[in-house]
Assembly symmetry: C2
């Protein structure tokens, strides 16, 4: 079994090393020898700690995808378009299978690529694209294949989870912790992809496709990141018995599959609350299996290489599955999340100037919009100074909460944009 | 794809129902229609809520395994020997694949069955044998196939975990909670198989085989159950920041693979501490993947049927793997656990008659055996009455602790058999 690797960054080099160093073990387990026959990367001369002597070098990855003597093209270039897409299309067109870690590519072009792969009788495997070393695609597409999935949710971005965990541990604010994460290499110089929820939404759209048999559709995901989460919110969450986590959630509703990525409060006792630092976790609710939770390292060279090589070994064993578990032409359409229709419980934080009459105004807005409070907290009193006032609501329409908060914002005693964070009633 | 089901108890009937009711979904995902062609059970007339009209009935399961018009025999009779073994051997001998949920069978005869299956070119699939609905065999044998596993551990018996959780929640003793578990159907009338750790040891020996590539060997597992865990120990564990869990643990050591099932203290913050009630969890430490934890329902008709049907679907897709991940003739030998050689930290509880000189005797025994204490707790004082005295040790040889405890037991102020519970330093 010959593989060609496109992209020799940290992950590409780790895959090369794993396949080379564990050759005997992999051969025994896969029933065939696996070897790297070709590679392509930007800089041939760079020292990656691996010897490229016995492999063919290609300057052009698409050229390699087309012409290398390989059964599988391993695409580790990244990016939703451009060269990565070209490489995958060229590989399939020339009768090769594809293994990729590229979530952006699949979130945006997965449906079209699945049609192409089906027509050519080739496979696209992508365990490494979601939740790194956790074999969650395999669990969904194979291990739980006998189930109708009712919902799936997870902590899908290690950078955000690291930041939220560190904010809680240190009491520091978002910017300070982001800087620390960047210094440690847990966050990019341009962190938007992670902290704005885009990366988690890419992964969620892939999980949704496999879990519910619908075409991945990034644009159908409602996305909210963690930039606006303050150290105050983290401290109040603690006090109320919650942790704030960035969750990706996909649910079967009467009208279709709803997908959203947003920071939310989860009860301290729930499994997700204990997933800290750069760890990822995914919870799947199957109708027969019941809840299944998988947890592990969502990123890093080792975990990602572990997932990439598992896909290669599956192909070596002859396992060929439709990309998203069912024939591409049978994939249904998910539905754009309509958050207005959603109901739930909410955490609301206002910064108010503490003077007489404030609570009367707040209470009037709540009454008029028919929103009922479960609890209200005010930790410090400082006459004339802005102080936080925190409320949690009973079950209520999200639209009603948004209207109420708009009224709060218009009060002249309210000095900042009020914050709303959903309280997720995770049952497992 | 035709299957024949041997055994129509709760699980057998659930498999029948799942395959029948989800026929379209399974067909789409497996790429082939799956249908039940034959069944065998003890009582033909019993009402199981399923219609057996269109399937052939066999009075003799081994006869069915040999002669049914089926590609797969699903063995759900149970038991380590006798008819279950006959059915599997007959199925393979007549060119059929086997899907089974039978852990006892595999723990005792797995190695021999794997050789037979390899020679005949047939598969034995057994996802349902370990941790019910959690796809842990698939995760190990496929999803983490690129890893050298360093250790694996888990909560593998739902009955024991239910009992330990309920003891903690209620403060009641083992016997009271066992009775409650029996009334709820979580424990058998004869509970020994579960509470003495045998069932967990069966499962551990299978996990060990897949994780480390050695032949399953039930006799190599050191086994200790939970009958001797008292409500006092549970309360002290809480006070010390631990939960008591029955863990199955397999570790790569310098001399081989060591396996043990025993109740132990795990830090309140560790993932295993939060696995409550009838839930199971398995943690796998791979060299590249890092830690991966899987949690879900370890028993019950739905979860078990989910796993059985996933195996059937794999075979329908043409996935054929060596039973324990590598050719049977390449399986190595595990090693019998030698607990004497182990070191660790230990919890020790004595019941002492509280009179002058007790502590001097205890201290002398500790000094003589060179065992150093981390903490000592005595909660109540009642002159003349037995009171619990609890110690936790620093890292020490298990043999030294056992010798010390023997000396404690010989003291005339010590009135019950002292209790030792290992403190597991779980790093994930």
């Amino acid at each position: 079994m010959k593989i060609a690797i496109a992209g020799l960054g940290t992950v590409g080099a780790a895959v090369f090393r794993l396949v080379t160093e564990k050759s005997a073990l992999l051969g025994q387990r896969a029933g065939r020898q696996i070897e790297v026959s070709a590679v392509s990367a930007r800089d041939r001369g760079r020292d990656r700690g691996i010897s490229l002597e016995n492999v063919r070098w290609f300057d052009d990855a698409a050229d390699m995808a087309q012409n290398a003597n390989a059964d599988i093209i391993v695409e580790l270039i990244g990016g939703s378009d451009g060269i990565a897409l070209e490489v995958c299309e060229a590989a399939i067109a020339s009768g090769k299978d594809v293994v990729t870690a590229n979530k952006a590519l699949l979130a945006h072009h997965g449906a079209a690529l699945a049609v192409t792969a089906d027509q050519a009788g080739r496979s696209i495997a992508y365990e490494a694209a979601v939740a790194g070393g956790i074999p969650v695609i395999k669990a969904l597409r194979e291990g739980l294949a006998a189930n109708r999935v009712d919902s799936i949710y997870g902590i899908l971005n290690g950078t955000c989870n690291f930041i939220l965990t560190a904010m809680r541990d240190s009491g520091c604010d978002f910017e300070t912790v982001l800087k620390e994460a960047q210094e440690k290499g847990y966050a990019e110089a341009d962190p938007g992809f992670d902290v704005d929820g885009v990366d988690a939404a890419h992964k969620l759209s892939i999980l949704t496709a496999v879990a519910f048999g619908c075409a991945p559709d990034f644009d159908a995901v409602s996305v909210e990141g963690i930039r606006h989460i303050s150290d105050l919110d983290i401290a109040f969450a603690d006090e109320l018995g919650y942790r704030i986590k960035l969750l990706g959630i996909a649910r079967r509703t009467g009208e279709g599959i709803e997908q959203s990525v947003h920071p939310c409060m989860v009860r301290t006792g729930s499994p997700m609350a204990h997933v800290d630092g750069v760890f990822n976790a995914v919870a799947i609710q199957g109708d027969d299996s019941g809840p299944v939770v998988l947890e592990g390292q969502g990123a890093g060279a080792g975990p990602t290489a572990s997932a990439v090589v598992a896909d290669i070994m599956d192909l070596a064993k002859g396992l060929r599955l439709p990309v998203f578990g069912i024939p591409a032409n049978a994939l249904s359409v998910s539905m754009p999340a309509n958050t207005d229709r959603q109901t739930g419980r909410y955490y609301v934080r206002l910064m108010v100037v503490d003077r007489p009459g404030v609570f009367a105004d707040v209470a009037a807005a709540l009454r008029d919009e028919n929103v009922s409070m479960e609890a209200i907290l005010q930790r410090t009193r400082a006459p004339g100074e802005p102080v936080p006032v925190v409320m949690t609501t009973h079950e209520v329409a999200q639209s009603a909460v948004r209207k109420t908060v708009k009224r709060f914002a218009a009060l002249d005693t309210v000095v900042e944009e009020p914050r709303i964070i959903g309280i997720e009633p995770l049952t497992f």
